[in-house]
C-alpha cells in the first residue's frame, strides 16, 4: 500500500473521523484507571497530605505541553521539507491543545504551589520557561493566522515552531541546571524515588492525556480540512 495514501486531505479526513472516537474512548478508560489509582490506591503523602494529588494532573499536563510542541515542530519540519499541506494542518490542529495543556500545567502548578511553597507563583527557571512555552504556542497560532494566504501562514508558523523548539530542552533541563524552588525530577529512565502507585497514577493520566490530545488534534484537523478544502468537489458533496 502506498504510504502516502493518507497524506491527501480527503483520505485523511475519513481516517481521522474513524480513529478519533477510539482515541477519546481510550482517554476516558485510562483517565478512570489513573484517577482510581491516584485517589483510591495511592497513599496519603507524609509531608503534603492530600493536596499532592494535583500531581496526577500537573505532571502529565506539563509532559504533554512539551511533547505536543515537539510533535508540532516535527510537523513543521515536514511542512518545510516536503511542502505538504496536511502536515501543516496537523501542526495547526495540535497548537490549541498544546496551549491548553500548558495553561493547565501552569494553573495546577500554581494551586499546588500555594499550599506547599506558600506562593502561587515564583519566577524560577521551570515556571518561567513553561510560561514562555505558553507564549510560544500563542505566537504560533497568531502567526499562522496572520496572512491572507494560508500556505504562507503554514510555512511561517512551521519555521517559528522550529526556532522555538530550542526552548524545550531549557524547560526540561532547567530543574537540573538551577537549584531553585521547583522540585527536581523524581522520574527518570534510571528509576524513580516516588511511591509506585503514585507513579502509576501519573503514567496512566499521562497516557490518557496523550490519547485525548491525539483525538482532539484529529477532530480539529478535520475541521481545518473542511475549511481549507471547502472549494473541492468531495467536501461540497459531503456537506
Amino acid at each position: 500500500m502506498n504510504v502516502f495514501y493518507f497524506s491527501s486531505p480527503s483520505t485523511f479526513y475519513r481516517l481521522a473521523g474513524a480513529m478519533a472516537p477510539w482515541f477519546f474512548g481510550l482517554a476516558v478508560i485510562l483517565a478512570v484507571a489513573g484517577l482510581y489509582v491516584g485517589f483510591v490506591q495511592a497513599p496519603t503523602d507524609a509531608v503534603q497530605g492530600e493536596v499532592y494529588r494535583v500531581i496526577f494532573i500537573h505532571v502529565p499536563a506539563a509532559w504533554m505541553s512539551m511533547f505536543i510542541y515537539f510533535v508540532m515542530a516535527c510537523y513543521g519540519a515536514v511542512t518545510l521539507s516536503f511542502n505538504t499541506r496536511l502536515a501543516a494542518m496537523m501542526a495547526r490542529a495540535l497548537a490549541p491543545t498544546g496551549a491548553m495543556f500548558t495553561f493547565v500545567a501552569l494553573w495546577t502548578g500554581a494551586f499546588w504551589g500555594r499550599p506547599t511553597w506558600g506562593t502561587y507563583w515564583v519566577w524560577d527557571a521551570r515556571l518561567t520557561s513553561e510560561l514562555v512555552l505558553l507564549f510560544l504556542y500563542i505566537g504560533f497560532i497568531a502567526l499562522a493566522n496572520a496572512f491572507e494566504d494560508p500556505r504562507r501562514g503554514d510555512r511561517a508558523a512551521a519555521l517559528l515552531a522550529l526556532i522555538g523548539v530550542v526552548n524545550l530542552p531549557i524547560i526540561y533541563f532547567s530543574v537540573q541546571w538551577w537549584n531553585t524552588l521547583h522540585q527536581g525530577s523524581s522520574v527518570s529512565f534510571k528509576g524513580t524515588s516516588m511511591h509506585v502507585t503514585m507513579l502509576w497514577g501519573m503514567l496512566l493520566m499521562a497516557f490518557s492525556f496523550w490519547m485525548y490530545a491525539i483525538g482532539a488534534a484529529l477532530v480539529r484537523c478535520r475541521n481545518i480540512i473542511l475549511d481549507r478544502e471547502r472549494r473541492t468537489r468531495w467536501v461540497r458533496a459531503m456537506a
Binding site: 510560544l136 502567526l143 519555521l159 517559528l160
Partner: protein
Amino acid sequence: MSGFGWAFARDFTLAWRHPGETLLTLAFFALVASLFPLGVGADPQLLARIGPGVIWVCALLAAFLSLPVLFASDYADGTLEQMVLSPHAMAGWVSGKIAAHWMISGLPLTLLSPLLALQFGLPADAIGVLMAALLLGTPVLSLLGAACAALTLGARGGGTLLALVALPLFVPVLVFGAGAAEAAAAGLSAAPHLSLLGAMLIVAAMGVPFAVAAAIRIAMD
C-alpha cells in the same frame, strides 16, 4: 563572504546618512529607563536592585522597535527580492544586514548603558558586567529579532504580532543578561551568565542567518 561585506556596507551607509533612526532608538531607551524611577519612587536601594532588569527590558524593547526597518522598506520597494535573486549565498548577506542593524541599535545601546546604570546607582563592577552582558546579548537579540521580522513581513497585526512572536524568544537573553549584572552587584561571579550569553551568541550567529534566509524565502513566495 562578499555577500556579508556589501550588505553590511549598504545598510550601514544608509543608516549613517539617516542618523535619526539610531538617535530615536537611543532616545527611546533612555526615556523608558527614566520612567521607572519616576514610577516606582527614588529609593536608591530599590533602584539599584531593579536597575539591571529595567535596563535590560528597555534594551529589549528598543531592539524590538528597531526591527521593522531591517526588512520592511526593502521588502516594500522590491530591493529584497533583488537581493534574494543575487548569486550570493543568502545567509551571507543576511548576516551582513543583521550586523549593520546591530551596529546602529544594539551597539549604541550598549555604549549608552553605563550612563543609565549610573542613574540607577549600580556599583562600578556591575556596570562593567552589564556592558559586557549587553555586548554579548544585543547581537543575539538582533539575530533572533531579524528572524521574527522576516517571518512577519507583510502580515496582518504588524507590530503587536512581531512583539508576540519575538519577545518570548528574547526571554533567555534577558534572564541571563540581567542575571549577570545582578550577580555582579551582589558580589558573586557573573562568569556563568556571561559564558551562557557567549554560547547563545555563537549558536545564534551560526544558525539564525539560515533561519532568516528561509523566512525571507517563505515571504517571497
